[in-house]
Subunit: 101 residues, 2 copies
């Protein structure tokens, strides 16, 4: 359940979102995206929780791997007509983890 990340530094992509009222197909797609992430170069782990707000933090070897994943997500979202209708709003933050406990 916790991502088993290595010694820092590594990269975190913090994705926070609210859902819209129209989430048909969202659950399957979210699941598929997590599966795809695991196949991606530099993948270290993912942690995810949702109540009113959804937070998904994915961890990557470096920023280059994180950026590649972000582009692939956007590509998948474009292919999947209307993926954006699932979200009420979202933020993406790319960060370097420098310390962990």
């Amino acid at each position: 359940m916790f991502a088993q990340t290595p010694k820092p530094p590594y990269t975190a992509v913090i994705f926070t979102s609210t859902l819209s009222d129209d989430i048909e197909g969202y659950g399957e797609a979210a699941h598929e995206m997590e599966r795809l992430a695991q196949l991606q170069d530099g993948y270290l782990g993912i942690e995810s929780a949702r109540d009113e707000l959804g937070i998904t933090v994915s961890y990557w070897r470096d920023e280059r791997c994180a950026q590649k994943w972000k582009l692939q997500l956007e590509h998948a979202a474009v292919q999947r007509i209307g993926a954006k209708r699932w979200y009420g709003g979202y933020r993406v933050r790319i960060a370097t983890v420098e310390r962990d406990y």
Copy 2:
């Protein structure tokens, strides 16, 4: 609901946790900690979600402010006898946000 963070860089503290079966007093304490964070120097915002896993990301002006907050949290946890019994497990990651969208 989304933290209104400024232009990067700034600091993110990613706290992920599972709860134990004994969470008496947890809800009030979590609420109080969020209230205290807002009074702290360098506070930028907080985002939080929980289902099986809980993820709280707090945002700070710089790492010094984040570290001060972490010390204050630990201090409060020690004062509050047995605060640790609430958690099944947890991870704390301190990261520098370099980009956001």
